[in-house]
């Protein structure tokens, strides 16, 4: 069962503010539902066996060295079905994971990074605030994917987009068109897309996202992006003679 509306704020008399610990508190039943969605994912059984607390995953994990993050606690919480802790982890912890899969060294065969991928998808599908916040930086990437078929384009290196990357990115921005024409590969003479993608291909990608419900997930966390994408593609689909 999908929890479609954003979780309701619980107003207990003794809370001075409704948001506790920086995130919205929800009822126990909602937490159970969220965990059940994680557990019923077809990958869950491939990703979680038992855990004997060896800590190898933490030893290998880059995020554990920087954040108060532990893939071991993710696996433990999931194994114990501790829905309170899992809900808490879905607010912050899961977004600290680098998705590097160094934790696949687990001798029990667990995949804490994979459990996190599932938890993230559940957070997105249910429109959790943490997912919306996480998506803020990525809505332009999603738009780029849908409008060009690639995730990264040269024109994303805007003059002031990455000041911490050094002055060379500004050089790129200043010479963008010229420098792109100075590339030997024929597919790469582009500025608004990584490489030149055929129109038909773009439409096929949209169809995939539509058919698989990926677009619905976007609607949950960024409704305006969703309508932009819909508008963008509907005409294209008609042109290519593909029916939804």
């Amino acid at each position: 069962m999908t929890v479609t509306a954003p979780p309701q704020v619980k107003t207990d008399a003794h809370y001075k503010v409704a948001d506790v610990a920086g995130y919205t508190e929800v009822s126990y039943e909602v937490k159970v539902q969220l965990f059940e969605q994680v557990k019923s994912d077809f990958r869950f059984g491939d990703y979680l066996y038992g855990c004997y607390e060896c800590g190898i995953c933490v030893g290998a994990c880059p995020s554990a060295k920087f954040y108060d993050f532990s893939p071991r606690r993710i696996a433990q919480a999931a194994a114990r079905e501790d829905v309170e802790l899992i809900y808490q982890q879905m607010q912050e912890d899961i977004w600290e994971c680098s998705q590097c899969f160094s934790c696949l060294r687990c001798p029990r065969g667990n995949n804490p990074g994979g459990i996190i991928t599932i938890m993230r998808e559940v957070a997105v599908r249910n429109g959790l605030a943490s997912a919306k916040e996480a998506l803020v930086g990525y809505s332009r990437i999603i738009y780029k994917i849908m409008s060009t078929g690639t995730q990264v384009s040269p024109d994303m290196l805007g003059r002031d987009a990455f000041p911490d990357w050094g002055p060379e990115t500004a050089d790129v921005a200043d010479n963008l068109d010229l420098w792109r024409r100075a590339l030997p590969p024929e597919t790469m003479h582009t500025t608004s897309t990584g490489w030149s993608v055929a129109d038909r291909t773009l439409v096929e990608l949209y169809l995939i996202w539509f058919e698989t419900g990926a677009l619905d997930m976007i609607a949950q966390v960024d409704p305006s992006l969703h309508s932009i994408l819909q508008e963008l593609m509907e005409d294209r689909l008609e042109e290519e003679g593909i029916e939804l």
């Binding site: 077809f42 990958r43 491939d46 290998a60 880059p62 995020s63 920087f66 977004w95 680098s98 998705q99 590097c100 899969f101 160094s102 065969g109 991928t117 993230r120 957070a123 997105v124 996480a134 998506l135 803020v136 930086g137 990525y138 990437i141 999603i142 994917i145 690639t150 995730q151 990264v152 384009s153 040269p154 994303m156 911490d164 990357w165 050094g166 060379e168 990115t169 790129v172 010229l178 420098w179 024409r181 100075a182 590339l183 030997p184 590969p185 024929e186 597919t187 790469m188 990584g194 055929a198 291909t201 990608l205 169809l207 996202w209 698989t212 419900g213 990926a214 997930m217 966390v221 593909i242």
Partner: protein, 422 residues
């Protein structure tokens, strides 16, 4: 026999060898065999390796074959987007070695960067995107070669999910049917650095620049060797078979000195999300855990790596760190760019080093490349483009075949055998 006390590692290896073959029993033993079985059952089509191929050993001993020619380049967004010299070098090397290829327009991004960053997708979408690309390759008859480490790792994950879960296969098959495409997977999922590794001796045979004075540190991409680890290339002659062999194998074949450092297995810190929205993590991790450690312990001339995200992270994280007085300033190149330079590629026309952030000029100088001259040549190319004399640079321009003085000394036609390869 007794094991001699203090026996050298080779002797201990001989004694320790048991008859039992090793596999990762949590993963599929042999995905290739599983795919062929599913094909026999009519569940999917397997695109077979065609023509000459080189055999390599993977982590648990399974033989993997790397097709040499007639490849379909599954490009990388990040490479094509902001490290275009990376992709260009891959194409350039393939041309120089005389192997035909297809550079498709009907290829989408694998979309895995977005997936690992924001999770605004699901397994069916990811699998369908993968299969759609594989079908596009299959339709041309060219065998797919994956440019990005994350595309490669993610596609291995997708392959395993499709093999294990018939309901996912059915769903993806249905979507492909709407697109008029079959459900097809290649016999092997091959990363371009595996192709480079398999052909490293052919590459070395065409080497025209001396890199024996270059000290290299290698950074292995997490998604290359940590996801479905059994598929990664291992070689008993490289690191005693204890670490993945790609990139190191190439550097050694070219004669560079490869030095180790104590954070070899660490991620670069790309983080997928973090590179855009939590940049202090990426920058700090890349600097503190990788670049500074490499400099302090190995003092290399260049870091070599084989993935888009890793090149981005290691190259771009150093500028801001310098402002904090950190010990940074280390050139970052892909193995493809390094190999291309060794084969005589132009640093700007081919390797497009002007898109890089960390200073690449010291290793170029050590390789005897007059980068000032090269830059002047590239500038003259740009003038020709600006004047409208040409619309785009082409492959002949990349080799300086239209230079006024004749072929540039820096971009020679490399059909010449220049040295015996050890």
């Amino acid at each position: 026999m007794t094991i001699p006390i203090g026996a050298p590692l080779d002797a201990r290896r001989l004694v320790n060898a048991t008859a039992e073959p090793v596999v990762d029993r949590r993963s599929l033993d042999d995905p290739r065999a599983e795919l062929l079985e599913l094909e026999r059952q009519g569940e999917l089509i397997v695109q077979k390796i065609d023509g000459e191929a080189i055999s390599v050993a993977t982590k648990y001993g399974r033989e993997k074959r790397i097709q040499k020619a007639h490849l379909w380049h599954h490009k990388s967004c990040g490479q094509c987007g902001h490290i275009p010299g990376y992709s260009t070098s891959i194409f350039w090397m393939m041309r120089k070695l005389g192997y035909d290829y297809h550079d498709p327009h009907d290829q989408t991004s694998c979309t895995a960067w977005n997936y690992y960053a924001s999770a605004t997708s699901n397994t069916a979408a990811q699998a369908a995107v993968a299969v759609r690309n594989f079908a596009a390759a299959y339709e041309t008859g060219y065998f797919p070669l994956i440019h990005c480490g994350t595309s490669y790792g993610h596609y291995k994950e997708v392959r395993e999910q499709l093999i294990r879960h018939p309901e996912l296969r059915a769903q993806v098959r249905g979507i492909m049917a709407k697109l008029g495409k079959p459900l097809v997977l290649p016999e092997e999922i091959v990363h371009y650095s595996e192709w480079v590794h398999a052909l490293r001796h052919e590459i070395a045979a065409r080497q025209v620049r001396d890199v024996s004075g270059i000290v290299v540190t290698v950074h292995p991409a997490c998604h290359y060797h940590k996801i479905v680890s059994g598929d990664a290339i291992y070689d008993p002659d490289i690191y005693g078979g204890q670490r993945t062999a790609v990139v190191t194998g190439l550097a050694e074949a070219l004669g560079a000195e490869v030095r180790s450092y104590s954070t070899w297995f660490d991620c670069c810190g790309f983080g997928f999300r973090h590179i855009l929205v939590q940049r202090d993590f990426t920058r700090s991790f890349a600097t503190l855990r990788k670049i500074e450690v490499m400099k302090e312990e190995a003092n290399p001339d260049v870091v070599l790596t084989h993935d888009t995200g890793c090149v981005t992270t290691l190259d771009k994280s150093q500028f801001a760190a310098r402002a904090h007085g950190r010990n940074v300033g280390l050139a970052v190149l892909s193995d493809a760019q390094f190999a291309a330079l060794a084969m005589g590629a132009h640093p700007y026309r081919v390797c497009q080093l002007h898109w890089h952030s960390a200073d690449y000029r010291p290793p170029l100088e050590k390789m005897g490349i007059d980068w000032e001259k090269a830059w002047a040549e590239f500038q003259s190319d740009l003038r020709r483009l600006e004047s409208g004399e040409k619309r785009y640079l082409d492959w002949d321009d990349a080799d300086g075949l239209h230079d006024e003085e004749g072929p540039s000394a820096l971009g020679t036609d490399t059909t010449i055998e220049v040295r015996d390869v050890l």
